[in-house]
């Protein structure tokens, strides 16, 4: 069951983000998971309370966004959704397709509780 390793890695990243922003606590964690990531979202959700215990994310909820599998045909250019074990083009049947999404396992965002608050207006939103 590698979901526990994945959860531990997730919490380590969240802790790093929390420290960097001087956060008191983490309110919620959002991740994106595709069916071809090899992660079972239900198992992950059940393992998560074990991993977060005693960390800055002690009370943080885990929100899992499911991403669809999408492929693009290299021959005819058609884009479509696909099943995990049928990644061929649904229009021309060719198996030379490229995966556009569906193998992700990403930490998308973290909602933090800070003392001074986060930038809240659009013009403050920036990359640093």
């Amino acid at each position: 069951m590698h979901e526990l390793s994945v959860c531990r890695s997730l919490i380590a990243q969240v802790e790093a983000v929390a420290i960097q922003h001087g956060a008191r606590a983490v309110r919620s964690i959002r991740i994106c998971v595709g069916p071809l990531s090899g992660i079972d979202p239900d198992l992950l959700q059940r393992t998560y309370p074990l991993a977060r215990a005693g960390t800055v994310a002690d009370t943080a909820g885990l929100i899992i966004e499911h991403l669809p599998i999408r492929v693009r045909c290299e021959r005819c250019g058609f884009e479509s959704e696909a099943a995990p074990n049928r990644l061929i083009c649904t229009r021309c049947g060719d198996w030379h397709t490229r995966l556009l999404s569906g193998d992700e396992m990403l930490l998308a965002s973290v909602e933090l509780e800070t003392d001074d608050g986060l930038p809240a207006s659009p013009d403050q939103a920036r990359i640093f």
């Binding site: 990243q13 930490l107 965002s109 973290v110």
Partner: protein, 287 residues
């Protein structure tokens, strides 16, 4: 990390994080810190470092994955017999328990480091790194990593190797690529093993197994192989020679290669470059 060029944002998920997209704010409209890092980033960074170890020594690293008992160690024994005068080989063995497989390899005169994972059902990049520091790479041509017998999670962990080989023995059923798409999508080469047994198994059709692999949009070649009859051993060693010379060319050009099946493969380079200076994107509370 892709705060600077957005390389974690794919055509498939970009709409979710775009301003006003589902992930750009939390339920109550509070600002959230957008991270967009792979969940296995820590492992991937270690894997990147492991790959530097291999590349620095011009070594080709091949990860063998399969169900328990599909013939990984038997393949290694046969490979050592076939290539012992041509190349210097070394093996990293992963098992839940026992040194049995490492001993089988050492009995053939090849260095082998055994990793016993205890309860972990896969190898990860940190375990392989520990093993690498026990294994002198100078003069070695190919390192084989025999993963824990398991058709599920080993596919998710980059170990810092260059190529994945997935074994499917003919006693397991020809529908395995359809049942375990994550594993078989990760194969750079599929080996159909124990083909000497095909004579007594009337329901395994190698062509069906290959067709199931193509359904995963995989271009990986499939080789039918038996360590008993020696069928396919020449094709297998020819594949290894080609891969080793490709690795040497890459090393000469200061390039490297990641195995199939790792998400964001073509975007990783950016991420590694950017990860040296962490930073996060702040998104507005309500656009």
């Amino acid at each position: 990390m892709c705060d600077t060029c957005g390389c974690n944002i794919t055509p498939g998920n970009g709409h979710l994080v775009a301003s006003g997209g589902k992930l750009s704010r939390t339920e109550d409209g509070k600002a959230a810190v957008t991270v967009l890092r792979g969940l296995l980033d820590e492992n991937d960074l270690q894997a990147h470092h492991n790959r530097e170890h291999f590349d620095r020594h011009g070594v080709l690293a091949v990860n063998l994955m399969s169900s328990p008992g599909s013939g990984k160690t038997a393949l290694l024994e046969a490979t050592i017999d076939a290539l012992r005068h041509e190349f210097k080989l070394a093996v990293i063995e992963g098992d839940l328990e026992t040194e049995n497989d490492a001993q089988r390899v050492r009995a053939k005169g090849v260095p082998a480091i055994q990793i016993t994972t205890g309860s972990a059902c896969h190898l990860d990049a940190h375990m392989v790194h520990d093993a690498l520091h026990l294994l002198p790479l100078t003069g070695i041509d190919i390192v084989f990593i025999e993963n824990v017998g398991n058709l599920v999670c080993p596919a998710s962990f980059d170990l810092g190797h260059h190529r994945n080989v997935t074994l499917l023995s003919v006693t397991e059923g020809d529908d395995k690529p359809a049942k375990y798409p994550v594993m078989f999508r990760a194969a750079d080469l599929m080996l159909l093993t124990k083909t000497d047994l095909l004579a007594v198994l009337d329901d395994f059709d190698p062509q069906r197994a290959e067709a199931a692999l193509r359904q995963l949009a995989s271009e990986a070649p499939a080789i039918r192989l038996s360590v008993r009859s020696h069928e396919g051993l020449d094709a297998w060693t020819a594949w290894l020679r080609r891969e080793l010379s490709a690795q040497r060319q890459r090393v000469a050009q200061h390039a490297s290669a990641r195995p199939a099946g790792q998400p964001d493969g073509h975007r990783l380079h950016h991420r590694m470059a950017a990860s040296a200076r962490p930073g996060y994107v702040f998104l507005p509370a309500k656009p």
